[in-house]
Amino acid sequence: MSAMTQKRVVKPQERIPEIPEKIFLFRSCTGSMEYPGTENCVEYVLKKLGIEVIKDPDQSCCSGYILTCSGHIAEPSLAVTARNLALVEQRYGLDTYVFCNGCFGYNKELKHIIDHHPEYKKMCNDLIAQWGYHYEGKSTVYHVQELYYLLLDRIKENVVRPLTGLRVAAHYGCHYLAQQYGILDEGDLPTFHEEIYTALGATPVFYKERRMCCGYAVGRGFTHPENVVQPHLAKKFDSAKEEGVDIMTTTCPGCNVALDREQPKLAKRGFGPYDIPVVDLGQLIALAFGAPIESIGFNANSTSVDPILKKLGLGKGDK
């Protein structure tokens, strides 16, 4: 199934050879419900970068999350992936861009399985034919962060609110970095988020556990009890705190739930306390691009972003 001849790390220009004028943006359930500001900012940023965004209400959830908890068998997720990607290729002939590492990992992985197992491809196509879909696999799955990085120059040009003095730390997220082949940066020592922070005028901070998994804390309480997730997360936040991190960014609303919502609960258990706000990378870029603060949706966070806004002179009462 795997192809060891494939390159592990590719240059952004290799990954996305041509800068698209138009992309299909895949809606993330968590990114549009838990943190609606994420979806809003991703669109805002892409628009500022000169990319036209197409969305479609006929797109459904990628169905990956419950699958990874083994909550149901794999057939529906294969068929759902084929259906969503067939919809994009048939209606728009565009590539698919996601803004959630979960959607990225599942769509990419499931697409890989469909493309490499003719029997699964047939199963999917037989099933979705009843609604007029036919999956061929022409729509490639990308993450918007890859496009951000490719458009680093355009990002620099659009900064009107430089984040000077802000100490920003990255959480890349496993389902991007742990992709075996064809990702933008070395899974062990990625730096492309840090390069984006620098473009925004912020100070990138490297902390020891920055590669570490978010602990899957949405599944916390279900598949993953406290005793698995909490010490794990505490280890991550301890190392971030040590480096004096002001704010952390993710490129996955799922990681965002884990890292943001769990902090108050960690404090109750005697870890920390931590007060490191966690936002989407798109939200941070939108902030630097001068988006109206209300439209960024920081108020969805459990660990308040207000101290950061204050630090930047953007808090309530500042002007």
Binding site: S70, C213, V228
Partner: protein, 209 residues
């Protein structure tokens, strides 16, 4: 403490686990332990050991792997897969191993609660839709940032999503798990990989978990 105190073996265990043929190269495992060395769960809970789980699946140590509590600790972060020298897709192995455990009556308590979101997703095409109070909060937040109160998901998307779950048998599969649980037939899981390991008493004892 002797590690080999399990007695039930099944030569066909690997084939039974890899039902979707997603880890056809499992028997190429070098037992190098890079997976374990890079696993964040193993770092905190030494009784969770992906290398040993691969070993036991290949050997057919059915008892230990199916009733294991440890197999429910994997975060699916795929760090193991990232570093594996022979590209064994351990998370996909874990997904399928859990299916087998569930079908044998183990570990239902870990998935049936989260499946309430799976059932709800069949009605709205989105996963993790909360209860009414949560929905109102989301609507408030969305309106606050100036977008439609609810993500646009068409009736067509919802219908087709639900049908896919029904027509592939996934819906019945989930319901069957609920039934086993309702009848009180779920079997207990235990820490089966403790033998011979240093443990963290706070977390790796039966009481701690």
């Amino acid at each position: 403490m002797p590690r080999e105190n399990m007695t039930q073996w099944d030569d066909k265990l690997y084939q039974k686990v890899d039902r979707y043929n997603l880890v056809p190269n499992l028997d190429e495992c070098l037992q190098c332990g890079k997976c374990t060395g890079n696993c964040p769960v193993a770092a905190l809970h030494p009784s969770y050991n992906p290398r040993q789980i691969v070993h036991d699946i290949l050997l057919g140590e059915v008892d230990r792997v199916l009733q294991s509590e440890e197999i429910w600790r994997c975060l699916w972060c795929a760090n193991c897969y990232r570093v594996c020298p022979v590209d064994i897709h351990y998370p996909l192995l874990m997904m399928q191993l859990r299916y087998l455990a569930l079908e044998n009556g183990y570990g239902l308590k870990y998935v049936t609660p989260i499946n309430k979101y799976a059932y709800r997703s069949l009605e709205c095409g989105l996963t993790f839709v909360p209860g009414q109070k949560g929905i109102d909060k989301i609507k408030g937040l969305r309106e606050g940032i100036g977008v439609d109160p609810w993500p646009k998901v068409s009736k067509k998307a919802i219908h087709e999503y639900g049908e896919i779950f029904k027509q592939t048998g996934a819906y019945d599969w989930m319901k069957a798990l609920d039934e086993v649980q309702a009848k009180g037939e779920e079997k207990p899981v235990t820490l089966t990989f403790l033998g011979g390991r240093l443990v963290d008493e706070r977390y790796d004892t039966e009481e701690g978990s």
